[in-house]
């Protein structure tokens, strides 16, 4: 085991897979000399060279489209979209092409492409560089969506994504990059998509959260324990599609209360899906309605006060948990 940051864990996963499989290549904007806008791929050009670490023009649609075509015909590309907002520039290749081609061709092709992207609010980067849009993609049959919060999960699940035979969207929250953790070193070790993780055991309320949120939920758990004596169980599904509902239901049957927290806008977000599934399958176990925590109904604004007003933090999780904890059946 080695101590490393989430950023290094993502890099390690890509490097291990590039070493392991000559069909893997990595492309994106400013990913070569600069190592990506977030420094994730720093040093990879030196090891793998410009054929496999492909610096691209600013052409999201072409980059993803080409990756999809290459994936159909023998390569296993990993693509980086600099900000999650810019997946909108590549919507057709992701949604119209990658997600559907296998289906439409009656299973004649596989599309083993991994689309990595990152984002998140809290940096005053303004409305066009701060959105969390995972629900756009969880709504598309044919795509898998992975969004881990922990460094070790980032490594193992990115490796799994690259080895997966399907198009996988791999979402990194910007706040996670400097987070440190113990990460394994066996290059053959690989994670499994669709398996959630209990990040903290607790008995009074379940918080289901992903992306950057689990770190805030863990903070909230400390506060709730000290100030309210509430024991929070924090569950990170790690993969949103496929979703490990089992681990969530098991927890809710124990705690009888559930809050779903994500940074994306609440209305129409993936939290709604989780809440619906929980009440469908564990209605009799619930002592309170499932509450959602998410961004308010606005684009992410620039000014720090405004941004803090719309984007959820640990306090919003605390408030929601208190609300369901004191509710009676």
């Amino acid at each position: 085991m080695a101590q490393m940051t989430y950023r290094e864990a993502v890099r390690t996963a890509m490097a291990e897979e590039l070493r392991r499989d000559g069909r893997v290549l990595f492309m994106g904007e400013d990913i070569a000399d600069m190592g990506g806008s977030q420094g994730v791929s720093k040093g990879m050009l030196a090891e793998f060279g410009p054929e496999r670490i492909r610096n691209t023009p600013i052409s999201e649609e072409a980059i993803v489209g080409a990756a999809v075509g290459a994936a159909m015909s023998g390569l296993r590309p990993v693509v980086e979209i600099m900000y999650m907002d810019f997946t909108s520039m590549a919507m057709d290749p992701i949604v119209g092409q990658a997600a559907k081609w296998r289906y439409m061709t009656g299973g004649q092709v596989t599309i083993p492409v991994t689309i990595r992207t990152q984002g998140g609010a809290g940096w005053q980067s303004g409305s066009q560089h701060a959105s969390m849009l995972e629900n756009w993609f969880t709504h598309i049959p044919g795509l898998k969506v992975v969004m881990p919060s922990q460094p070790d999960d980032a490594r193992l699940l990115l490796k799994a994504a690259i080895r997966d035979e399907n198009p996988v969207l791999f979402v990194e929250h910007r706040d996670c990059y400097p987070r440190k953790g113990e990460v394994g070193e066996d290059p053959e070790e690989v994670g499994e998509l669709g398996v959630g993780r209990v990040l903290r055991e607790g008995s009074d309320c379940t918080v289901v959260c992903w992306g950057g949120m689990p770190w805030l939920a863990l903070e909230a758990a400390e506060t709730l324990e000290q100030e309210d004596g509430i024991s929070l169980e924090v569950i990170d599904p790690r993969t949103l599609q496929p979703l490990d509902l089992g681990i969530i239901l098991e927890s809710v049957r124990k705690t009888n209360r559930c809050v779903v927290a994500h940074e994306a806008v609440t209305f129409g977000g993936f939290g709604a899906e989780v809440a619906a599934l929980v009440q469908e399958h564990a209605f009799d176990h619930l002592d309170a309605p499932v509450l959602r925590v998410g961004e308010k109904w606005a684009p992410v604004p620039f000014a720090p006060v405004l941004e803090a007003h719309v984007v959820p933090g640990a306090q919003q999780i605390i408030d929601a948990v208190r609300s369901v904890a004191y509710a009676t059946a």
Binding site: D30, M34, N55, D85, Q124, H129, F302, V305, A308
Partner: protein, 404 residues
């Protein structure tokens, strides 16, 4: 019946670049009158650029592209006072951005900040050549463009700091700054997306017969985005009054343009749309003024869009704080030799503009900017609930759910 390729000739003839107009710009041979191309990035990396001779040949054969020829220069008609104003715009933009950098370092100015230090001649030349009611759309590197349209620098600086007195009331910041009081549609955080949008602004000008033109600024990096190509194509088939102004600073973030653009000469891309095309030394403010003036007159007269490639240099990092590890040693320093501000200053002195006039402008700018920073720092932040304002035309907005 299936359409045959020949169907095209039976409709209105597809417009080709230039319509050999009796305009002031005269066709010249390709490659003349162009800014020198710098190759240092290539040699430093040891990798060769793609051979673009075929592209050049095709563009040369296209023939109707024009480079601006110095004949009767529109700028010859500028008074000394007007020339000094152009200088002031450049100095103001420079000083604004220098102070932005200072304030960023002091922690007073959050977010992502891209400065256009070194590119002020384009902003000023274009800004002054346009009419008061013409529209501009900019990029993530927008401050100079906006300042050159006469926006109030106090409100711009306040916006940079997220204050309520900001031109967007703190909603936009550097990357999304807009000022509709000056027909500045706005900066844009999404590379290339301004091009189709400004095409639409031009469509509105045409339909509403305003006589205004639209300008879409964009970068060499953006020139590879599909949205730019789609916008240019649409503008040409609809013959819209728009200028596509490509600021070729030869970098997109860390990426030198030669790595991502297969032609060295970006003017050849105008040929693909049969679009009137000019090349200009973007560090020569008067050349930019002349080119824009001719282009705007052409577009305003209903002749269709014009594409302008302005060569320039980025004298700072991509963003404030960029260590520029990717930039060959000495390149940035060498680029400073072509700084357009001292160059224009010298030119003005040569034209017998009294130095005291320039000094007076410099002192006034210094004061103006000092005041702008002070005012911005003293201004309030918006109330937090303002975050919910402006999401819709209605406020308060009753949604997203009703009936509760």
């Amino acid at each position: 019946m299936a359409a045959t390729p020949r169907a095209r000739t039976t409709t209105k003839a597809a417009p080709t670049g230039g319509k050999a107009s009796a305009k002031k710009a005269t066709p010249t041979k390709r490659g003349s009158g162009k800014a020198p191309v710098d190759d240092h990035a290539k040699s430093a990396s040891g990798r060769k650029s793609i051979d673009d001779t075929a592209g050049r040949a095709a563009a040369a054969a296209y023939g109707e592209q024009v480079s601006f020829a110095r004949g009767k220069r529109p700028s010859d008609k500028l008074s000394k006072a007007e020339l000094v104003q152009m200088y002031r715009t450049m100095v103001l933009a420079r000083r604004f951005e220098e102070l932005v950098i200072d304030q960023y370092r002091e922690g007073n100015l959050p977010g992502f900040v891209h400065v256009a230090i070194g590119q002020e001649a384009i902003a000023s030349g274009v800004g002054h050549a346009l009419g008061d009611d013409d529209f501009i759309g900019s990029t993530h590197r927008a401050h100079a463009h906006i300042i050159a349209r006469g926006s109030n620098v106090e409100h711009l600086m306040a916006e940079m700091m997220g204050r309520i007195t900001g031109v967007c009331q703190g909603k936009g910041g550097s990357m999304h700054m807009a000022d509709m009081s000056r027909n500045v549609v706005g900066a844009n955080g999404v590379v290339g997306s301004g091009a189709p949008m400004m095409t639409g602004v031009a469509l509105a000008q045409k339909e509403l017969k305003t006589g205004n033109v639209a300008v879409a600024f964009y970068g060499d990096g953006a020139s590879s985005q599909g949205n730019v190509h789609e916008g240019m194509n649409l503008a040409q088939i609809w013959q819209l009054p728009i200028l596509f102004i490509l600021e070729n600073n030869r970098y997109a973030e860390s990426t030198p343009t030669w790595q991502t653009v297969p032609v060295d000469d970006l003017t050849v891309r105008g040929a693909a749309f049969g679009m009137k095309t000019f090349a200009v030394d973007g560090n020569d403010v008067l050349a930019v003024y002349d080119t824009t003036a001719v282009a705007a007159e052409y577009a305003r007269a209903g002749n269709g869009p014009v594409y302008i490639v302005a060569e320039t240099k980025r004298l700072s990092g991509h963003y404030v704080g960029d260590a520029e590890v990717y930039r060959p040693k000495g390149e940035a320093k060498a680029a400073r030799q072509t700084d357009p501000i001292p160059a224009f200053r010298a030119q003005l002195l040569e034209r017998k503009v009294p130095e005291r006039d320039l000094k007076a402008v410099e002192a006034e700018v210094e004061e103006t900017m000092e005041r702008a920073v002070e005012a911005a720092l003293a201004a309030d932040f918006p109330p937090a609930e303002d975050a919910m304002k402006h999401v819709y035309a209605e406020y308060p907005y009753p949604g997203p759910v009703l009936g509760l």
